[in-house]
Symmetry: C2
Subunit: 211 residues, 2 copies
């Protein structure tokens, strides 16, 4: 088994933080995203979509998605549980994971990929025909980012975790999405949002967050 | 427990097909999306995001996402398993679910919501400040739709199911996304794509597909 990983990018970080919380060690190969190594033929043999992370299994199969990789390891090593234990927790964690993805992570992605010169004609992640940038999406992403931060701040009022009483994959995905937005120079959502800021400080202080 | 459901819309259908495959009966309330009932105050008390489906639990909690609802029922009633059994199946089903969502379902959604008069200033699903339509996204959605159909056709060469040897949530989400695109007048992806057409016919012929 080998995990294809990359520095800086949010989706590989989601898996690294997850693995650190679980205490799981995996053999890794680091792909140079900034140097465009994922766009080269060799990497396309591993993952035709040219996206990171990707987990190559011993039978030659590839799981080419961050949450798919985490759920694979969760099935192998259930403890500590990061996708919930009761049906209600399991359902709410999935609902928050999808909401963070659509309403926060994608807000950052559309804002970044439709403005940065590195993504000209690659405005959507993955292997596509040329997809031109649409500058109007930068504002849409910005608007969604601010609105989601308000929703999250209200949700976290009186809560230390997204769902239930302990850290879950929803906290990890939330941390990664928020940090990705801050790194790409969206407005810092912690300013003026006390509950969000308190939650973020708690999750960011865990040793796993440095993975 | 009560499931807030709606006719025609794809996300409620995802849950109905899932429940039919599992043989699970749930009390339902049907919300009139076309009449705008989800935009009224009463429904906002159930789901502040004004989205369907939503599952109201007996303790007053709400799971406001289709896959969150399905995973809740999967934890309560594991058989027959629709999210995989082996770690590899579990990981691959999640990876396909996320890919269908990003690369296919969202392609349909951006194409529809950025052109249809019903979605003026509501170009993204959910409760947001006014989000104006961006007509250039109609072409982007169309391009993604066609490219994803090619990817899916190649994947389904020699396969009857998205992952493994039996129907899973990935087949259900794929069926719902493809049918949603066809219903909103994107080009029929079955034409000229034999493997995709064969897979679609197989899943659409299951009694659950009529749910």
């Amino acid at each position: 088994m080998k995990l294809y990983d990359a520095a800086w990018a949010p989706s590989p970080r989601r898996v690294r933080v997850y693995l650190a919380e679980k205490g799981i060690e995996v053999e890794r190969a680091v792909v140079d995203l900034r140097g465009g190594e994922h766009l080269c033929t060799d990497f396309a043999d591993i993952n035709r979509q040219r996206q990171l992370p990707a987990l190559l299994l011993d039978d030659g199969s590839v799981i080419d998605d961050s949450l798919g990789i985490c759920r694979y390891f969760e099935a192998l090593h259930p403890d500590p549980p990061l996708f919930g234990t009761t049906p209600k927790e399991i359902g709410l964690i999935e609902a928050w994971l999808r909401r963070i993805e659509h309403d926060c992570f994608q807000a950052v992605a559309i804002s970044l990929r439709n403005r940065a010169p590195a993504f000209v004609d690659r405005a959507v992640s993955g292997e596509w025909p040329a997809i031109p940038q649409i500058p109007a999406l930068v504002d849409r992403g910005h608007c969604m980012w601010n609105a989601f931060a308000d929703v999250l701040d209200r949700h976290l009022d009186g809560r230390d975790h997204m769902v239930g009483e302990r850290v879950s994959m929803a906290d990890i995905a939330g941390l990664v999405a928020i940090d990705f937005g801050i790194a790409t120079r969206l407005p810092d959502p912690r300013i003026g949002r006390e509950s969000l800021a308190r939650w973020h400080a708690g999750i960011a202080a865990r040793p796993s967050a440095a993975a």
